[in-house]
Symmetry: C2
Subunit: 215 residues, 2 copies
């Protein structure tokens, strides 16, 4: 039996699988919170309208997590998924662009689980420098590199206007951030060594628009 080592990152895992794993994790945490300690792929799938086979296939890429004939231990499975997503260690996040969206995202993150901590915020707009977002002080974008170095931030959130997006992205890359979540509606020239994920409100709305029946 080819035992996979769940502590090392596989390059070959699809984005779709990771997406689902993250959702599974959330659902498991929910079960935990309501006191359910055991589940099966079938039961789990039915509760959250997922696919039971898909769940098993997704997990199979990382090892064996259940007991045949029985099912899964909720907390244990949650722990294993959390660990393989790299969530047992905290992740520091820096937000670039402290406008409406940037500050909303910052506040949003302070509610969620402690895994992702916003440790810094920068803005191009000089008027915003020194503003307080929660307990965070907005600093000039020119200090981004220093800030990343100071905080050892691994993730950058890009919430600046389109015009500044590419250059701030490049700053993030130069500063040594390993992943970027981009909210600017632009196709960035991506740096290969930095995982970049786009979140594009306008694209999502346009996708939905297609399905609005005119009949």
């Amino acid at each position: 039996m080819p035992k996979r080592n769940s502590s090392q990152r596989l390059e070959s895992v699809s984005c779709a699988t990771l997406h689902r794993l993250s959702e599974y994790l959330r659902c498991l945490r929910h079960l935990e919170s309501i006191g359910i300690t055991k589940t099966s792929s079938r039961d789990f799938a039915e509760r959250f309208h997922l696919s039971a086979v898909q769940i098993r296939k997704d997990l199979a890429q990382f090892g064996e997590f259940g007991i045949r004939g029985v099912g899964y231990d909720v907390s244990q499975l949650a722990g294993r998924i959390s660990s393989l997503l790299g969530l047992d260690q905290g992740r520091s996040v820096i937000v670039a662009g402290m406008g409406n969206l940037g500050s909303a995202l910052t506040r949003f993150l302070s509610f969620g689980p402690e895994t992702f901590e916003v440790v810094g915020g920068v803005d191009c707009d000089l008027a915003k420098i020194g503003d307080k977002i929660g307990h965070l002080t907005v600093r000039p974008v020119s200090e981004l590199r220093q800030l990343v170095r100071e905080t050892k931030a691994e993730i950058g959130i890009l919430a600046v206007p389109v015009a500044a997006a590419q250059s701030v992205y490049d700053e993030f890359v130069a500063a040594g951030v390993q992943a970027v979540l981009n909210f600017a509606p632009i196709r960035l020239r991506i740096h290969a060594n930095v995982r970049t994920r786009n979140v594009d409100l306008q694209v999502y709305l346009e996708e939905l628009s297609y399905f609005l029946q005119t009949t």
Copy 2:
């Protein structure tokens, strides 16, 4: 030659294709804005690091848009894509949840193209009722149905806390909204007749987290 009618919605178009079409459209608008009137799939792909064949395949699902041996007319192609995404008619949007995120999204949309207009905002929090977001007055969630009817809104944006998300989603559905963009980190029990798209910051961050090498 099986001529497709680009004015009717095909049920069979993949989400990935729609996503790309929306991106093509944005890129075309960019070319327009810098005065470029003609392009080819190759040229276009190189400019925006896309795949030339993919572009042609995506377009092929809807008809013929180019001239063999020549390429595409930028404005014309933009118009055709815009039309098949259903963007030539305006779309009314209602935002539920006028907290940080909701109001940021509202403001964000007032910058983008006029296709999507936020025509109403509601909140569960009584303290927020009556607040002004731009020229919009926040109304109680109990008036959601009436608001949808008044404005003929087709799209709902769900930016309420997790605890309220399912019930407000159900309200959107009951009110007759045709599509929902959900920002609450929860797996909604989806209504089949309503296109629902989740945008989940936490999931995106967890996906990125996986790739943060610990080596």
